[in-house]
Every structure is written in C-alpha cells, then in structure tokens.
Symmetry: C3
Subunit: 343 residues, 3 copies
C-alpha cells in the first residue's frame, strides 16, 4: 500500500509541483498532516494549513496559487475533493474479495449463494441459507441454517448468524458480532434452580443497518427481535430478545437494551446506556452516555441523562449541586445551630 | 422452514377448520399473532384473543367451540399445549448436527471425541482434549489442549475455550464466548512499565451452566475461576481471574466481576452491574441494573441499588431527592436569608 | 497434564519427603492449597501455612526443617521459588505451537510469514500481510490484507485484524478481539437517515501491548487509532476511531473511549469507565470504576471518580451525603417549619 507521487498523479491525470519520487502510504486531514500522507485542499478556509502541513503531498485544484512558500508537494487536479473521494473509494476496496466462493469455505448442498457474491475462506453456510447479490461474506463467517441475506450485504470476519435470522439489503455487520443467540429466558423452579425457556423466534435486521464489532443480538422467545431500517449500532451493543429498535436510531458503544423494550425511531443513544425490559421509548429521544432508563418515555424528542435518567437540563443542574453536597450539609448544620441559639 | 396447515395438521393428527392451504413459517403468542404464524390456545383466559388474532392458524383442543366468528384457521388436536411444545422442540433441532466429526474440522490425533457427539465444520480440537457424549460442537469452535467437556454440552459457533479448562454436563455456551483467557495481572516495574504475571490456572464451568454470547471468563492466576452449577450468564458478561460465581446465580448482560471476588448462590444481578475485586457477596443478594459494589455484602437476600450500591429502598428514596437537589439548595439559601434578617 | 511427585522431583533434581506416588495436576498458592496441587514455600512469612495446606506437595528449599508435623509431601530443591517459576514457564507452553504453518490455514500467495513463526489451524492471512519472527498465531485467527505484525507476537484464537493495521513486537491479543473495524461515523441527511463516512485510516498497536478478549478497537476515519507502547487493555474494552492511548496506561474491563479522545501515559482506568469523545486526559490520571468523564483533564496524576467524574475525595464525601439525602431534606423541612413559627 505504497505509491509514489508520480504514479498517483498519473492515475489522477494531475500535475506535480515538488518531489515526484516521494512515497505515500496513507491519507490525512491537511491540519493533521504527517510524513507519508496525502491530504487535500478544497475549502479555502483550510488554505492556511497548506503552508504548515506535515503531509508529504496535497491534492489541490488546478486554479490554486500559493501565497507564500510551500514545503509539501502539490498535485494539481481538476477537482481536488472529487479526486480525494475517488481515492478513498479505491482504498475502501482493499481486502474486498471478488465474486465466487473460496474453496476452503464450507457450503451445505442446498444453500443458495448468488454468483455475484464473494464468500471468503473458511466461512460456513448452513442448509437452506440464501445469500443475495453482490455481498461480501468475509472469511470465517458463520451463517446458520435457513438464514436469508439480502443484496449488497457485508459480513466481516467471524460474524455469526444463528439459524433462521434475516439480514436486509445493504447491511454491514462487523467482525465478531453475534446475531440470533438465545434470549436470556429462564423459569425459576421450586428448588430455586432455573429451567431454560426455548427461544424459538429469530432476529430480523432490516435494510441499511450497520452493526458494530462484537455486538450481541438475541433471537426472540417467539416472534422476532427487530432492528429496523437504517439503524446504526456501534461496537459491543447488547440487544435482548424481542427488542425492537426503530428506524434510523443510532446507539453508541456498550449500550444495552433489555428484553421486549421498544426503542422509537430517530433516537440518539450515547455509550454505556442501559434500558430496562418491557418499556417503550418515544421517537426522537436522546440519551446521554451512561444513562439508565427504567420506565416508559412518552414525550417525543426529549433529552435525558443520568441513572436513573431524568430530563437533561434538570440532570445537569442536579449534578452541579451533587458536587457541593458536603458543603450543603454543613450549611444545614449551621442553620440548625443558629436556630437553636435563637430559640 | 415453511409448512402448510394441511401438512402440519397431518403431522399432529389434527383436524383443520378453515384454510388448509395457508402457509406457516413462524410461531407467535396468540395475543401477538401475525400473518404466517401459528399460535395455540390452551388457557381459557386467552380465549378472547382467538377472535382477533392476526395469526394464520391456531392450535386448539378438540373440545374447543368458538363463541363468535373466527377468521383464523383452527387446527384441532388432543392437547393444544402439548402439540405446540412438541413443535417447539422440533424447531429447536434446526441447525443441530448429527453424530460425527465434519471432515473440515481439525482434531489433533490424541484428542478424544465420543462417537455420539457432533463436531461441526472448521472446528479445532486440541491435543488431549476430551469431549463427552451427545454434545453439539458447532462450526468454528476452538477447544484448546487438555480441555475436558462433559456430556450433552452445546458450544455455539466461534466459542473459544483455552487449554486445560473444563466444562460440565449440559452446559450451553453461546457464540463468541471466550473461556480461559489470561487474567489481567501485571506487576509494576520501577520504570512504571508493567511485567505480565503468568496466568497458570484454569476455568471450571460446572454442570447446567449457560454462558451468553461474547462473554469473557478469565483463567485463574493460580487455581481456578469457577462458575458453579446452574449459574446463568447473559451476553457480554466479564468474569475476571479467580472469581467464583455461586450455584444458580443469574447475571444479566454487560455486568462485570473483578478479580478474586466470590458471588454467592441464588443471587440475581441486573445488567451493567460492576463488582470490585477481592470482595464476597452473600447468598441470595439482588442488585439493580448499573449498580456498583465496592465492598463485602454479608447480609443474605438483601436488595441493593446504585453506584456505589446502597440498600434498595434507601437508594430509591435518595434518588427522588436527587432530582430535586437544585430546589433543595434554593430552600437552604432562602433559610439562610431569612435567618440573616432575623438576627 | 498429570505428573507424579517422583517424576516432578526427578525433573527438578529434588528430594522427596513423603508420598512419591502422589499425583499432581495443578498449582496453587500454599494458603489456597488443594488436593492434587503443587505449592511452594520461599518466604518464611508463609511457613505457618505448610502445616495446614491442603496441597498434595510443596516445593521447599533444601535448608527447610519443619517445626512441627507435616501432612503434605515435601520436594526439597536448591531454590523453591526458582523451581516453581521454571515449572510455571513450562506450563505456559501448553498449547503453544511449533514453527510452521498448519496445512488447514489459508495464506494468500503474496503474504510473508517468518519461518520461525507458528500459524495454527484454520487461520486466514490476507494479501501482502507480513508476520515477523517467533510469533504464535493460534487457530482461526483472521489477518487482513496488508497487516504488519512484528516479532514475538501472540494472537489467540479468533482474533480478527482488519486490513492495513499494524501490531508491534511482543504484543499479546486475546481471543475474539477485533482490531481495525470501522469507526462509528455517519453524516445525518436531510431526511434524518444517515450516510456512512468511509473509515480509511488504520490501527497502530505499538510494542509490548496486551489486549483482552473480545475488545474492539476501531480504525481511524483518517490517520490512525494508536495504542502506545506497553499499554494494557482488559477484556471487552472499546476504543473508538482516532483515539490515542498513552504508553503504559492500563484499562480495566468494559471501559470505553469515544472518538478522537487522547488518554495520557501511565493512567490507571477502572472497569466500566466511559470517556466522551474529543477530550484529552493528562498523564498519570486515575479513574475509579464506572466513572464517566465528559471533559478535558489537564492536571496530571489526579484521582477521579463518579459519573460525571469529580475529584476522588470530593466524590467519596458527596457519596456519603447522597445516602442521607432523604434525611437532609427532612432537616430542611424542619428548619422551614421552625422559622415559620419564629416569624
């Protein structure tokens, strides 16, 4: 992954001003430049950075004329932003496989994989599973029996999808995520031990969803756990059985949602937030990091914070007084003393 | 995984009243019915739902006579509940393998696998490992050297068990869980760097334990980390080195237990709870979600909440005042002002 | 993994006093002795335990003379501590592979693996990846295209390293950890859905770093997420895109660091701690478990606790008053009542 300024310029039909033999191996924002990196300058607001950037080369528009001395190498192109975006897209193809099933993958005989899809090494595809068009199924993925996967889906290495779950078009699931594990359901017995309740539902992941690395999404006891269209889950998020995550809701890392809870659409949930089970959260709700939500939220578009979570502004004010609690207690003591004297 | 009402009825020796060509592909509670689903009615309390359910078909007892119009298709059987349970059990067999070792699995020559056990594709079984009867070892599992696994154990895809750990009879371990990784032990050196302390113990998982997806259970520095009989761990739970989890204790998702802590039996631990290291928790203790426990708990069967955790009722009361802290501060200010006037 | 006292003594050139046919299968601290275990006695402070230990055998110095009756078997050696350490090191080699690539591993043709390195079964190594000397790459590891791995690195089963990331010398990465997954970056669109921002950077893990089981470390949007020399991460830690973790900083389990945050060196971070994004934390900072840090910390070597985190001593004092809040409110009520009477 190293390219010379000369080669890159040729690729972009550009013009080099500076050292055409310099080598590039990464990209960086112009203000965070580093040796070996390529940056770009499109917005004039960032122009001052071009005189100080540490980047080895910078893509600029052909019209760009420096106002003072420049140490970085310039590559002049028709549209610097477009050229940079084009390079990023090329970059994003690193590690992508070409259509076809790797010979070390294990595909059960009655599974269906579209011919335009890539299935990487050491991946397992179970009976009656179906995988649509132009998918990237990376190495060491597990796809259980009867799983249905749409078109243009990317499953990164080590993703595990239990039997009978479905994944919609354009979804991206990151490495190590588990979809369809058993819900945490046990019935207490008279001797205080627990009996497992069969978890016979599945998980439905709708289109355009992204699921982070090592997330866990449990199958429903009956029916389906549902991640709706366009929702985005960061790494290590836990979604329990029979939960429903609304459309275009985003959930930051390490948050957890207990069983049967319904999260509305367009919600924004910070990191390490926890939701109790069997509650309903209104559309557009926002939650600060580490909040804990124990009951229904019926007001839409509210902002909440704290554990237990309260209205954000109230929480911030209470937090300010919290820090002064020892002092507040002394003030009350002082008052008690004064009143005693008065009486 | 689609079956017609007619086929299903034949399987259950039932009688169809309604559309025998309707197709079923899932199950649902009668009150959460949906097209394509099969429900059942056994408890008369739920009878009202049969007149409104969205389910395509409902299993009922032969004696059932509707009191008003019904749109769903009925399948009459001798015992609706028993028939439904039978179907769930059939369902639970989806994705289960039959006895034998898949040819793509890698089994070291001196490992022992009972002939009644299933070992899935691309699984690795290390030297001197022993696996008992009727186990389901799914694809892509890692079983390290010298690991001992009892009878009737299920290891889901991608489970990793480090060398010398033991798993008792009837245990279920979900995808991506790691058992036996090194404890987090480092000795500080004079230059403020750290030296690794060898982690030479193991993990002992006793019988009837269930461990959730992507859990991490560290091996002991010396001796054993122990998960006792019947304990149930939800997804993403962290168990540090030398911890002991008591019998029939349940731990919800994303909770963590620091090194050498002993949790008693019959405890109930909510989600995202944290326990400090080197403490002891009495039998039957219960902890609300997101609690943080920093010291020993000697009272049995207590209920605790908050971070740091205090007695539950006290915590709920303190939480109520917390929300009003800004107002409380104002009341104190007001008192101070009044007293100043009086003096 | 069972050895008789006789065999062990022979290995250590020791002298047996007691039952030389007794069998040993584990090690234990002398004060936590158990049948079948070997312990050692080096520090005279621990001598009292040798008269009561449950361990089957104890390594002692040749000079050791018991002061009362002993039931355990003694193995006398020149230096008991050194002999024990030697055994632990032997033990640590269990499950280690010998140099060479397992025939079931999939290595792309232009990847480079040093001949002294072990590559386990069912591991995948992508195009242009390079692996240095004396590494232990366990089974079922994924190493993406262009990944560079230094010397003496251990990757446990199921570790996944996305394309173009780099791992320094002597690093240890535990099972299921994911390095280089996409950062959580989305641009909101006018219709309130989200567009993915390409994540084109990588992760650089410097030398002597240990990363726990099922950790997730995201690649940078541009540039690099960096884990600096000697840092130690426990299990299930989340490191977001463009984060920097300073040298010799230790982070306990289930903590998370949001995007672009810089953590200084020599920090000590408890379990389940959360850091907001885009903040900077001074060197030597310490954080209690479950703390939440929302802003910059500029003071070095400070101790912090709580969510939001405040100075540790202040936090402990505020916590004490918190428990008494209902009582404090009553005292204020009482004052208000008294003052009303006075007026």
């Amino acid at each position: 992954m190293q390219i010379s300024v000369k080669e890159l310029s040729k690729l972009l039909q550009g013009e080099v001003i500076g050292d055409e033999n310099a080598l590039l191996h990464t990209v960086a924002k112009i203000e965070e430049g580093q040796p070996g990196a390529l940056s770009f300058l499109a917005n004039p607001k960032y122009e001052p950075h071009i005189y100080t950037t540490q980047s080895t080369a910078v893509l600029v528009n052909r019209s760009f004329i420096p106002e003072s001395a420049i140490t970085t190498t310039l590559i002049k192109v028709d549209d610097a932003y477009q050229a940079f975006t084009f390079l990023l897209e090329q970059f994003a193809n690193v590690g992508k496989g070409t259509a076809g099933v790797d010979k070390s993958a294990v595909v059960e005989v009655n599974a269906k994989v579209h011919s335009s899809t890539f299935v990487g090494a050491l991946t397992y595809i179970g009976q009656e599973a179906e995988i649509g068009e132009k998918c990237q199924i990376h190495p060491q993925v597990y796809i259980g029996a009867g799983v249905k996967i749409g078109n243009n889906v990317t499953l990164y290495p080590g993703v595990k999808i239990y039997h009978l779950c479905t994944i919609g078009d354009n979804c991206i699931v990151h490495a190590g995520a588990v979809i369809g594990s058993d819900g945490f359901g046990f019935a207490p017995l008279p001797d205080r031990s627990y009996k497992k309740i069969p978890q016979t539902g599945n998980v439905i992941v709708e289109a355009d969803v992204e699921i982070g690395a090592n997330c866990t999404i449990d199958r429903a006891t009956m029916g389906s756990t549902v991640i709706k269209k366009g929702a985005k889950l960061d790494n290590l998020v836990q979604v329990a059985h029979n939960v429903e995550i609304g459309e275009h809701t985003v959930i930051a890392s390490q948050s957890g949602i207990a069983g049967s809870t319904k999260i509305g659409k367009y919600c924004v949930i910070g990191g390490q937030v926890g939701f109790a089970g069997h509650i309903t959260i209104a559309d557009g709700s926002q939650f600060g990091a580490q909040s804990g939500i124990g009951g229904n939220i019926t007001q839409t578009n509210g902002k909440w914070f704290g554990s237990p979570a309260i209205e954000l502004r109230q929480a911030l004010k209470a937090g300010v007084v919290y820090r002064k609690l020892p002092e507040l207690e002394k003030r009350v003591q002082e008052l008690e003393k004064l009143l005693k004297e008065i009486k």
